[in-house]
C-alpha cells in the first residue's frame, strides 16, 4: 500500500517535472524542475529497495549537479536573456522546428517498440514477483562487490575522477594571454 503510494507519487513527480524542464522558458525554473525530477527518480530507486543508489542519487545529483547547474547559469547572469522566439507549438524556438519534432517522434516510436519487445522477453524469463516487504541492505553487498569482484573498476574510477578533477581545474582556469 505504502510502496504503491511511493511509487505512484515518485513516478508522477519524475514525469511531470521532466515535462516541466522542457516546457518552461525560464532556465532557472528548468533547473528547479530538474531537481524535482531527480528527487522522483531517487524515490523510484527507493521503492525498488535500492536504498544506497537512491541516496547516492540525492547526494550527487540533487546536492551536487543541480547546484553546479545553477552556478553555471549564474555565469551567464541568470535569467536576463529569456528567449522570446517561438516555434509552431508555442514552445521556445531553441526546442526545435517541425523536422526535429518529426524525427524525435519517429525515434520515440522505434524506441518504444524495441523496449516493449525487450520487456516482453524479460517478463517471460523471470518469475513473476510481487513487491516484497523485505528491505535488505544493499550497502554491504555493494561494498563486498567493490572490494572483491570489481576491485579494478573501483580503483580505476578514482583515476577517472582524478582526470575529471584535473580537467575541470584546467578548463575553469583563467586563460593566459600571451
Amino acid at each position: 500500500m505504502f510502496l504503491q503510494f511511493l511509487f505512484i507519487s515518485s513516478a508522477v513527480l519524475t514525469v511531470s517535472c521532466a515535462l516541466g524542464v522542457l516546457m518552461v522558458k525560464n532556465i532557472m525554473h528548468s533547473c528547479v524542475f530538474l531537481l524535482g525530477s531527480l528527487m522522483g527518480i531517487a524515490g523510484l530507486y527507493a521503492t525498488l529497495g535500492a536504498d544506497f543508489v537512491a541516496i547516492t542519487q540525492i547526494m550527487v545529483y540533487v546536492g551536487g549537479v543541480v547546484i553546479l547547474m545553477l552556478f553555471a547559469v549564474m555565469l551567464t547572469g541568470g535569467n536576463d536573456f529569456v528567449s522570446r522566439a517561438q516555434n509552431l507549438l508555442g514552445l521556445p524556438a531553441s526546442m526545435g522546428n517541425k523536422w526535429t519534432y518529426a524525427i524525435g517522434l519517429l525515434v520515440g516510436v522505434v524506441f518504444l517498440l524495441t523496449n516493449i519487445q525487450l520487456i516482453r522477453g524479460l517478463t517471460k524469463a523471470l518469475p513473476v514477483k510481487t513487491i516484497t516487504n523485505e528491505f535488505p541492505s544493499t550497502v554491504t553487498q555493494i561494498g563486498h562487490l567493490l572490494v572483491k569482484d570489481h576491485v579494478l573498476a573501483f580503483e580505476m574510477s578514482s583515476v577517472l575522477l582524478l582526470g575529471a578533477l584535473v580537467g575541470a581545474a584546467i578548463i575553469a582556469r583563467p586563460r593566459k594571454q600571451n
Binding site: M28, V32, G63, G64, V66, I67, L70, V139
Partner: protein, 371 residues
C-alpha cells in the same frame, strides 16, 4: 534490515492491543504511530528552535554583561511566542522584481531538507523513527536541500545583497560538506555500518568508550566535523551568507514575516540536528553509562542522555558565535580546502591503518587490556 520505531514497539504487548483496535491493519496502525511520533518530534524541535532564539539572546546578553529579554513571561521565556505571533502578523512583502515562484519555493526547500533529517535522528535505542541502513549517508545527502534553498532564496529576491549571500551560502555549504562527509566516513569505518543504531551501539556510555576517544585520529575528526558543521549551518564564525555588517541580512534580506520565520526555524532546527549527529557519532549518543538493559523506562533515560549531550553542544555553538569574529570569504575557502579537507583525509587514512594494526581496539581497550 531497517529497524523502525514501530518495529521496536511491536515487541511489547500493548502493540497487539493497538493492532486489534485497528482491526489488524498493520499499514494504518504504522502510519498512525509514525504520524503521532513525527508530530511530537516536530513540535519538540520547533520548541527547541524557538528556545534557541531565546537562548541565543540570553547567552549573548550574559557574555556581554547585559540582561537580555526578561519582559515576556518568567525570565522572558515566552519571548519566542511573542516573536512567533509577531512574525505571523507582519505583512508579506515581495520585491516586484523577484522571481515569484522561486521566492515561494526557497523556504520550503530549506524546511523540507531539515525536517527530512529528523527521520533518522536517534533519540534513544527505540525512539528513532527509521534506523535506516544508510542512516548517516541519507542525512548528509538530504540536508543538501538546505543549500539549494539558500541559493534559490538569494537568487529569487533579485536584490544585490541577497544574490551575494545566496551565492556565498551555496558555495560555502557545498564546500564544507566535503570535510564533514570524510570525517563521517572515518566514523563509519570504525563502526562498521552507516545506520545510527550500529554506530551508537558500537559505543558505550562512558567517555573512554566513545568514538571521540577511540583513537587520536577520531579525536581530530570530531573537531573537523564540528567546524564543518558550523559552516554548513551558516553559524558564526562562518555566517558569511548572512553577514549583517556587510550584506545587510544576506540571502533572506527580502524575506519578511512568516517566510523569514521558516528560514530562521530551519536554521535553528538544523543546528539541533548537527549537534545531535555529533553527539551520536562521536560522543556515545544515547548510551546510558554502566547500564545495559532493554526495558521501556530505559528509553526515557537514554532520551535524557541524548538531549543533554545535544543541548550542551547547542550551547557551545551559541557560545562560539558570540566569541569568535567572522572570517573573510577567501579565508573561508582556504580553511575548507587547504586545512580541513586534507586533515579529514589524513584522519580517514589514520583510522583505516589503526583499524588494521590494532585490530579495531580503542586506546582504552589497549591500555586497560579488556576484551
Amino acid at each position: 534490515m531497517n529497524q523502525t520505531v514501530v518495529s521496536y514497539l511491536s515487541q511489547y504487548e500493548f502493540y497487539d492491543f493497538l493492532l486489534a483496535l485497528f482491526r489488524n491493519n498493520q499499514g494504518v496502525l504504522a502510519f498512525t504511530l509514525y504520524l503521532l511520533l513525527a508530530l511530537i518530534i516536530v513540535g519538540m524541535c520547533a520548541t527547541i528552535g524557538g528556545l534557541g532564539t531565546y537562548a541565543e539572546r540570553k547567552i549573548s546578553a550574559d557574555l556581554q554583561a547585559r540582561i537580555g529579554p526578561n519582559r515576556v513571561g518568567p525570565y522572558g521565556l515566552l519571548q519566542m511566542l511573542a516573536d512567533g505571533v509577531k512574525m505571523m502578523t507582519k505583512e508579506d512583502i515581495m520585491p516586484f522584481t523577484a522571481d515569484k515562484k522561486l521566492f515561494y519555493l526557497a523556504p520550503l526547500l530549506c524546511l523540507t531538507g531539515v525536517f527530512a533529517t529528523l527521520a533518522v535522528l536517534p533519540f534513544s535505542s527505540g525512539f528513532i523513527m527509521a534506523d535506516l541502513n544508510v542512516g548517516i549517508f541519507y542525512l548528509v545527502a538530504i540536508s543538501s536541500l538546505v543549500g539549494l534553498g539558500v541559493f534559490l532564496g538569494g537568487y529569487a529576491s533579485n536584490s544585490k545583497w541577497s544574490m551575494l549571500g545566496g551565492m556565498r551560502g551555496a558555495s560555502q555549504i557545498i564546500s564544507y560538506e566535503i570535510p564533514v562527509t570524510i570525517s563521517i566516513l572515518a566514523i563509519v569505518l570504525l563502526a562498521g555500518g552507516m545506520g545510527f543504531g550500529t554506530i551508537v551501539g558500537r559505543q558505550g556510555g562512558l567517555p573512554h568508550e566513545w568514538f571521540m576517544f577511540h583513537n587520536p585520529f577520531a579525536f581530530i575528526a570530531f573537531f573537523v566535523y564540528s567546524v564543518g558543521a558550523l559552516a554548513e549551518t551558516n553559524r558564526a564564525p562562518f555566517d558569511l551568507p548572512e553577514a549583517e555588517s556587510e550584506l545587510v541580512s544576506g540571502y533572506h534580506t527580502e524575506y519578511t514575516g512568516m517566510r523569514f520565520g521558516f528560514f530562521a526555524l530551519a536554521e535553528y532546527i538544523e543546528v539541533f540536528v548537527v549537534c545531535g549527529v555529533a553527539a551520536s557519532l562521536f560522543l556515545g549518543g544515547y548510551n546510558v553509562p554502566g547500564i545495559k538493559l532493554d526495558i521501556l523506562p530505559m528509553q526515557a533515560a537514554q532520551f535524557v542522555i541524548f538531549m543533554t549531550k545535544t543541548l550542551v553542544l547547542y550551547y557551545v555553538v551559541i557560545w562560539i558565535r558570540w566569541t569568535l569574529p567572522r572570517l573573510r570569504v577567501d579565508q573561508l575557502m582556504s580553511v575548507c580546502w587547504k586545512y580541513l579537507t586534507p586533515i579529514a583525509i589524513f584522519n580517514l587514512m589514520g583510522c583505516a591503518i589503526w583499524m588494521v594494526v590494532f585490530n579495531g581496539k580503542s586506546i582504552a581497550e589497549l591500555v586497560l587490556g579488556s576484551h
